[in-house]
C-alpha cells in the first residue's frame, strides 16, 4: 500500500464534494476490490472517501413493479433481505454466492458494478434483469452502463446511489466458478421480464454480454431445450489458464440451459 488520506463522508452530497475536489481520490465502499488492489500497490489513490457511514445508501425496497437496492447494500444484506428473496429470488441467490462470508459482509452492489470485473456476478444480474443504475447525475440503463473489462459509463466524480431492478416473472442465475478465485468462469443470468426474455453472460467475455439468439428462442418457448443447441462463437471470449475460449463458449450453453431449467422450477 502507498500512503493515502482518508475521510468518512457524512452524506452523498458530502462524498460528491470531496470526490470532485481531488481527481486522484477514490470512493471506498466495501473495499473488497479497492483495498486488495491497493495492498498489491496496483492502485494508488491520493485519498479515500469512505461511503460506509451513509446509512441511507443501505436499503432495499419495492417501488411498484421494481426492486430498488441502495448502492451500499452488502452482498450479505441483499442475500438475506426478505423483499429481495420474495421479489427476485435469483438476485438474492446471486448475492449469496459471491465470494466468501467475509467478502459478502463487506462488498457492496455499488462497488461491484462500479468495478465491473469481467468475472463479477452483479453485472450479469443487472443486464439480465434490465436494471437501471441510478447515480448522483443520472439514470443509466444496465445495457449502456457496462463497458469492456473494468470500464463503465461512470464519469469522474459520479456516484452510484442505487440500482433499480424490474421484477421479472421468473429468473435464475447459474455460475460456474473459477476453481481458484470462485469468481464466475462463466455465469449466465436468464430472466423473463416484462420487457421480454433476457440472457446475460458474465465471465466468458471481456465484459457482460447478452445472447440475442437465446433470448429469441426462449421468447418462443421458455425451456432448456430451446437453448441447448445454441452456441455462442468462441472468437471473442476470454482464454486464460483456467479455461480456453471454446470451453467457455460451451459452458455458456450449458449454464444457460441449467439457468432456464432452474427458472422454470
Amino acid at each position: 500500500m502507498y500512503a493515502f488520506k482518508y475521510a468518512k463522508a457524512k452524506s452523498v452530497a458530502d462524498a460528491a464534494t470531496s470526490i470532485a475536489a481531488d481527481p486522484d481520490a477514490k470512493l471506498l465502499a466495501g473495499g473488497q476490490s479497492l483495498i486488495a488492489a491497493m495492498k498489491l500497490r496496483l492502485s494508488q489513490p491520493s485519498a479515500l472517501v469512505d461511503l460506509g457511514n451513509i446509512a441511507d445508501l443501505r436499503y432495499t425496497r419495492i417501488e411498484g413493479d421494481t426492486l430498488v437496492v441502495g448502492a451500499m447494500s452488502t452482498h450479505a444484506f441483499v442475500a438475506a433481505c426478505a423483499d429481495v428473496r420474495k421479489a427476485i429470488p435469483a438476485l438474492a441467490a446471486l448475492a449469496g454466492d459471491i465470494g466468501d462470508r467475509q467478502v459478502r459482509n463487506m462488498g457492496t452492489i455499488g462497488g461491484s458494478i462500479a468495478t465491473n470485473d469481467p468475472a463479477a456476478d452483479y453485472p450479469a444480474g443487472c443486464v439480465g434483469l434490465g436494471a437501471t443504475i441510478i447515480t448522483t447525475k443520472r439514470k443509466i440503463a444496465a445495457d449502456d452502463f457496462f463497458g469492456s473489462m473494468y470500464e463503465t459509463a461512470l464519469e469522474p466524480g459520479e456516484i452510484i446511489t442505487a440500482v433499480s431492478f424490474p421484477i421479472p416473472k421468473r429468473a435464475a442465475y447459474i455460475k460456474f466458478k473459477n476453481q481458484a478465485s470462485r469468481f464466475a468462469l462463466v455465469g449466465v443470468f436468464v430472466a423473463e421480464t416484462p420487457a421480454g426474455v433476457r440472457v446475460a453472460v458474465t465471465g466468458a467475455g471481456p465484459g457482460v454480454f447478452r445472447v440475442a439468439e437465446m433470448e429469441k428462442a426462449l421468447s418462443a418457448k421458455f425451456a432448456p431445450e430451446s437453448v441447448a443447441n445454441i452456441k455462442v462463437p468462441a472468437d471473442n471470449l476470454n482464454a486464460d489458464l483456467h479455461a480456453q475460449a471454446d470451453y467457455r463458449a460451451h459452458l455458456v450453453t450449458v449454464m444457460a440451459k441449467r439457468a432456464v431449467a432452474k427458472a422454470s422450477e
Binding site: M1, Y2, Q179, S181, A243
Partner: protein
C-alpha cells in the same frame, strides 16, 4: 495401547482462540523493517545496481546487495541431504547466494534488501532502487533445458544437468526385461505445485553483540536443523545460532529450510545493532518458497506370460529449478527410488533420474517428498498393465504382492522392508469399498448422465529417515510440571498432545502437567526436525525411552524411600510399590519431594537413531464426472493404512485427512505454471492457484490396519505423508477409469474441469492421448 486418554489437542485452545504466537507475534517494537527488491524477470545479467535514491529516502537505514554479503563472508545456501551413490557421478552444487550476484536466475529472486524504520518506507524505497539488467533467454521446461543449445542457468552446470542419478541394478533389470513375455510402458507428468502454509515466510532477526549470538524468529519445522543451515551460510558454528519459534503456521516440508531473507536480515541486525523484521507477503511465498514435484516420468513393467511381474525400470526428468534447495536432494532422488517396486515382489529394478536446472523456483521436499512420484508412476503403470493385458486390476496386484512370509524383504537397490501384511490391507479396502457393487453404481450414475470411475491403488513409502540421533529430554520443573524438550517442531501436527501422551502413558502423569518445548532460545537438543513423517517414530520413541528412564530412576528413589532393593520395586499406574506388599509411593510424590532441585533427580533423556519404517496401504476412490462441464467429484474414498501402532487415532486421522486432501488438491487443480516465453510464474496468487477445499474429501473413510514394526519401541510407522502418497495414484487411476468408456486413454493430472472436458472432446475427435504432456524413452 488405549485411546481413551484423548480429549482433544492440548494446543487447540490457543489455536482456535487466536492466541498462538507466530513468528511476527514476537514483540520487537524497536525492530527495523526489511523489504526485498526481487528480480522482475527470470534470467538476466545484472549490469549495475543503483540504490542511491533509496538510501537518500527519509527513514531508510541501510541497503544491502550481494556484494555486501560477499564482503561479510557469506557462504552459499547449503544443500543438506545428498544420498551417496557408490559409482555414479556426484551432483553439481552451484553457488546459491542470498542476494543475486552477477545474474538473476528466477523471477522473484532477491536482489537488494532495503532496511528502513517502517515496512512502508522500506517498500517505498525499494521502488527507488534501479537495477540495470541484460536480458537472457529463460528456460522453464525441464526437457527444453536438456536440449543442446538451451540457455544455461549456471556456468558450472553444463547442459543444465545437476545430477544424473541412478539407483538399482541396471544389468539385472535389463536381463529380466530380455526374458519378458510382455513389456508395458507408461508416461505421466507429476506437475509442479506450491506448498502454501498459512503463515507466509517471514522472520525477526536479532544479533546479540555481547553474546555474539544470532537469534532468528521464523517459522520452522526443526529449530536446530534450521540453525545449522543458517550457520553454514553465515560461516559460524551452529551453536552461535538460535532459531526461536513457538507456533508455526504450516510447513509441509518447505518450512524446514533456510531461506535467503533469514540470513540477510541476521547480517543486517548485526550491522545495525537492532532487530530487523521481515514481513514477507503471500506473493513472495508463492514466488520463492521451495516448490514441489515437477517430475516427468516414464515407467516400464516386464511381465511373464502369467502376469507375474519380473522387473521394472524408470526414467524420470526432474525440474529442479534455478537452485538446489537447502533441504537437499533426497526428495528428488533416493526418496523417489527407495520403494522402487512398491508392495510388489520384484526385487530387481532400476531407475534413473535427471535433475535439471531451469529458470524457475527451487524444487524440494513437500508432503511425500519424492514418494508420491514413485507411487503414482508405479500404480499408474500397474493399472495400465491391467488394462493393456485385460487383467483384473485387483488380481494383477494381489498375484504380485510381497507375501507376509517374505519379510524382511530385501531389494537390490538396498531397501529392506521389515514387515507388512499387504494382502490383508488390500482385502480390508475391498471389503470397505463394496468393490463388487461398483458396476451397479456406475450404471446408476450413467442414468444421471455422469461418468463414474473407480480405482484401487496401493502404496508403500520409506519414512522416518534420519542421520543423527533424535534426542528427547525430560525435565521436572520447580512449578511441578514436566518439560519435554526436542528439536522436532510442530507446524500443525499436534506434537504437544502426542508426545505428552506417550510420556503420560508411561508415567501415569496427567497430560496437562506435561509441556512440550521445542523452539526456545538456548535450547540445545540433538536430532533432526519434523519431516519425512519422522516425529512420532523417532522423537516419540525417544520420549518413550526417556520416560522409561524416569521410571528406572524413580525405582531407585522409591527403593530408598521404601527401604527396599530397587530390583524389588514395581511401577504401575503412576505408583511404585514393593512387589507383593501394600507399601507404595507415587511418582507424583517423588517428584514433589525433590521439587525445585536442579537438576531434578528424575530428569532423564534419551537419544537414538531408529530404522526407516514402511507405512503402506490400499486406497480405493470412486469419482463421478459431469461430462458436460468436466467437473469431477470424489464420491467415496476408502483409505486402509498400515502405519504400525496407532498412538492416537484422532491425530492419525487428522494427518491422513490432511495428506489425502493435499493429494486431492494436486490432482484437481493446484498447479504452478510458468510462462514458457518469459519465465514468469503465472499462478502467483490464490486468484489463480486453486487450493483444495474441505468438500473435496467429504466421503473419506480412514481405517487403521496396524502391523507394528520392531524397529522402534513404539512399533509406529510414519503417517504424516502417507495420505498424499496414496491419494495421487488412487485418484489418478479413478479419474482415468471414469474417462476410459468415452475413449480417453491417457490423462495427466490435474483434473481441472477444463482439462477433463477437453480430454473428452479430444477423445471424441480421435485423439485419446491428447492429455499426455510428455513422453520419454528409457535409456
Amino acid at each position: 495401547m488405549s485411546h481413551d486418554d484423548f480429549h482433544g489437542r492440548l494446543e487447540d485452545d490457543r489455536m482456535v482462540t487466536g492466541s498462538g504466537t507466530y513468528s511476527l507475534d514476537w514483540d520487537f517494537p524497536q525492530a527495523a523493517h526489511a523489504w526485498f527488491l526481487r528480480a522482475d524477470r527470470a534470467h538476466a545479467q545484472i549490469v549495475s545496481i543503483d540504490a542511491s535514491a533509496a538510501l537518500a529516502h527519509p527513514g531508510v537505514i541501510a541497503v544491502l546487495t550481494g556484494e555486501d554479503l560477499q564482503a561479510a563472508g557469506f557462504k552459499s545456501l547449503p544443500v543438506l541431504t545428498i544420498p551417496t551413490r557408490p559409482d555414479a557421478m556426484k551432483p553439481l552444487l552451484p553457488f546459491r547466494p542470498c542476494l543475486a550476484t552477477g545474474k538473476v536466475r528466477m523471477a522473484g529472486e532477491a536482489v537488494v534488501c532495503v532496511i528502513a524504520e517502517t515496512q512502508q518506507i522500506a517498500m517505498d524505497a525499494t521502488e527507488l532502487v534501479s537495477v540495470e539488467y541484460k536480458e537472457l533467454p529463460p528456460v522453464v521446461d525441464a526437457l527444453d533445458a536438456l536440449k543442446p543449445g538451451a540457455p544455461q542457468v549456471h556456468a558450472d552446470v553444463p547442459g543444465n544437468l545437476y545430477w544424473d542419478y541412478d539407483d538399482g541394478d541396471q544389468a539385472g533389470t535389463d536381463a529380466l526385461f530380455a526374458k519378458a513375455a510382455t513389456i508395458v510402458k507408461h508416461d505421466l507428468y507429476n506437475h509442479r505445485v506450491i506448498g502454501n502454509p498459512m503463515e507466509p515466510r517471514c522472520c525477526i532477526s536479532e544479533y546479540d553483540a555481547a553474546k555474539e549470538q544470532y537469534f532468528l524468529y521464523s517459522p520452522t519445522q526443526g529449530p536446530r536443523i534450521q540453525a545449522a543451515m543458517v550457520a553454514k551460510v553465515l560461516g559460524v558454528p551452529t551453536d552461535k545460532v538460535d532459531v526461536v519459534a513457538k507456533d508455526t503456521g504450516g510447513g509441509f516440508g518447505i518450512r524446514s529450510a533456510v531461506y535467503p531473507e533469514y540470513c540477510v536480515t541476521l547480517l543486517a541486525s548485526k550491522k545495525l545493532g537492532r532487530p530487523v523484521c521481515w514481513n514477507g507477503s503471500r506473493s513472495e511465498s508463492f514466488l520463492t518458497d521451495n516448490q514441489a514435484r515437477d517430475f516427468i516420468c516414464h515407467g516400464e513393467l516386464a511381465l511373464d506370460d502369467k502376469g507375474k511381474f519380473l522387473s521394472m525400470r524408470f526414467y524420470m526428468v526432474a525440474n529442479n529449478g534455478a537452485y538446489l534447495a537447502p533441504t537437499g536432494l533426497l526428495s528428488q532422488t533416493r526418496s523417489v527410488t527407495s520403494c522402487i517396486t512398491g508392495v510388489y515382489d520384484v526385487p530387481v529394478a532400476h531407475a534413473r533420474i535427471k535433475l535439471v536446472a531451469t529458470n524457475t523456483a527451487q524444487v524440494a521436499a513437500y508432503r511425500g517428498a519424492g514418494r508420491p512420484i514413485m507411487s503414482t508412476m508405479l500404480e499408474c503403470l500397474v493399472e495400465r498393465a491391467a488394462i493393456d493385458l485385460d487383467m483384473d486390476p485387483v488380481e494383477i496386484r494381489r498375484n504380485n504382492l510381497i507375501r507376509k512370509d517374505q519379510f524382511p524383504y530385501a531389494m537390490t537397490n538396498g531397501t529392506t522392508y521389515d514387515c507388512g501384511d499387504f494382502e490383508a490391507v488390500l482385502d480390508d479396502a475391498l471389503a470397505a469399498a463394496d468393490w463388487k457393487g461398483f458396476e451397479q453404481r456406475r450404471a446408476e450414475s450413467a442414468k444421471r448422465g455422469k461418468l463414474r470411475g473407480r480405482a484401487l491403488s496401493t502404496y508403500i513409502e520409506s519414512t522416518a529417515a534420519g542421520g543423527i540421533p533424535d534426542e528427547a529430554q525430560l525435565r521436572f520443573e520447580a512449578d511441578g510440571t514436566l518439560s519435554l524438550f526436542a528439536s522436532s517442531h510442530s507446524h500443525g501436527q499436534g506434537h504437544e498432545t502426542s508426545f505428552a501422551q506417550v510420556v503420560s502413558r508411561v508415567l501415569g502423569l496427567p497430560m496437562k502437567t506435561i509441556k512440550l518445548r521445542t523452539g526456545e532460545a538456548g535450547m540445545r537438543v540433538g536430532g533432526g526436525g519434523t519431516g519425512g513423517s519422522r516425529s512420532m517414530v523417532s522423537f516419540g520413541s525417544s520420549f518413550f525411552l526417556g520416560a522409561q528412564e524416569v521410571v528406572k530412576k524413580g525405582k531407585e528413589l522409591a527403593a530408598k524411600e521404601l527401604e527396599a532393593a530397587p530390583a524389588d520395586i514395581t511401577f504401575d499406574h503412576g505408583e511404585f510399590s514393593i512387589a507383593g506388599t501394600d507399601r507404595r509411593i507415587s511418582l507424583q510424590n517423588l517428584i514433589q519431594k525433590h521439587q525445585g532441585t536442579h537438576p531434578h533427580p528424575l530428569d532423564s533423556s534419551s537419544a537414538n537413531k531408529y530404522g526407516m519404517t514402511y507405512p503402506n496401504g490400499a486406497h480405493i476412490a470412486e469419482v463421478e464426472i459431469d461430462p458436460e462441464t468436466g467437473v469431477t467429484d470424489i464420491i467415496s474414498y476408502i483409505a486402509v493404512d498400515d502405519i504400525g501402532n496407532v498412538i492416537t487415532h484422532a491425530l492419525v486421522e487428522g494427518q491422513m485427512q490432511g495428506g489425502l486432501t493435499q493429494g486431492a488438491g494436486q490432482i484437481f487443480g493446484e498447479h504452478a505454471i510458468y510462462d514458457r516465453e518469459s519465465g514468469q510464474l503465472l499462478t502467483g496468487s490464490f486468484m489463480d492457484y486453486p487450493m483444495p477445499r474441505a468438500v473435496l474429501v467429504e466421503g473419506l473413510q480412514i481405517i487403521d490396519h496396524p502391523v507394528p514394526t520392531a524397529l522402534n519401541p513404539l512399533g509406529a510407522k510414519g503417517v504424516g505423508e502417507a495420505g498424499c502418497t496414496g491419494a495421487l495414484p488412487t485418484l489418478s487411476n479413478a479419474i482415468l477409469d471414469a474417462l476410459r468408456p468415452v475413449g480417453v486413454k491417457h490423462f495427466d493430472m490435474p483434473a481441472t474441469p477444463q482439462r477433463v472436458w477437453q480430454a473428452i472432446q479430444e477423445a471424441k475427435a480421435g485423439r485419446p492421448s491428447a492429455m499426455l504432456s510428455y513422453t520419454l524413452e528409457y535409456a
